[in-house]
Amino acid sequence: MTPQQKQFFIDGFKEMSHSGVTILTWGFVTGIAMAKSTLTLHQALAMSLLVYAGSSQLAALPLIAAGLPIWMILITSFMVNLRFVIFSLGLQAHFSYLPLWRRIFLGYYTADFGYLLYIKRYPKSQTPQELNADYQHLRLQWMMGMQLANWVIWQVGSISGILLASQIPNSWGLEFAGSIALLAIIVPMLDRSAARWAALTATIVAVATYGIPFRLNIVLAIGTALIVGMMTDKSPKGSTP
């Protein structure tokens, strides 16, 4: 690693750490939910370390407890993850130069916050000329720094939750803390009216369609929010969010 690459890696790590409390809280709540479900300690740890997708894990737990067949749980898991498919659309041009195995890892480690922060800092992908000039691939270093911070903070929260769950009574309603923590990420994004319209739409649709199978309410909410966001956005084309 060159000194400059190191600098970008560390900057990325710090950038993600600013959301540390939120990630830690979400991880902790997810860990508790896993430990209090039908999973054994080892199963919960394996799920945390391998699956590494909180919302999909939380969606799977009641289905596992209900004894649903694996394929149904996997479909639900993918549906909850469909938002990542949309995110991958946004990242594709940025990292298409990497070899296949590195793209797989890059995708796997890019969760919600990673995408959000990356696309905020680098809304446009590099032209071939810019890419040639940026032979140190500093954007990639920045991204990897963020990914490492996200993974470490998440796993610390999640594993602490798994191990401490038996000490925490259900009556505390701690899972609500995870919801509150997300607010801190969402509110700063509501900086203009189109964003607020999109957010309002997503809220109404996600709640109104909550009962439909495979958690498809998430995809429906995103789809309608994107349409409303486009219609209400008066800013010139190509401006950044």
């Binding site: 391998l50 749980i73 990542f84 797989i104 919600d112 509150i180 997503a202 995103i222």
Partner: protein
């Protein structure tokens, strides 16, 4: 569901789902070119995604199965609003957590 082996398979399957979804279009590498209009359209996707996950947890009771279970007396709603106000004015994460949880707990136990 039969225990161990099935859970092991499920964990592996869900890991594959994480990889497939997060790498979906990245996997195609240079074989596709995504139109600027499409990139424009997905600008609010991260915002909408997080709200789509959060909103039902705030507006519906835990373990709810449909919107029919909406109830304005739900502590989640008032805790959520309190947290929103707290964050809007303070921009401090821990303070927001404390206020949100305090209102949530107060309504659960005393109302």
């Amino acid at each position: 569901m039969q225990v161990d082996l099935n859970i092991a398979l499920l964990v592996i399957g869900m890991t594959v789902m994480t990889i497939c979804s997060r790498s979906f279009f990245i996997l195609l590498g240079e074989r596709i070119k995504i139109s600027p209009l499409m990139l424009e359209a997905i600008r609010f996707a991260p915002l909408a995604a997080m709200i789509a996950i959060l909103a039902p947890e705030v507006f519906l009771p835990t373990g709810a199965s449909s919107v029919a279970q909406f109830d304005i007396h739900l502590p989640n709603i008032w805790g959520g609003i309190a947290a929103l106000v707290a964050f809007y004015f303070s921009r401090k994460m821990l303070f927001t957590l404390v206020v949100g949880m305090a209102v949530f707990t107060a309504i659960r136990f005393w109302v």
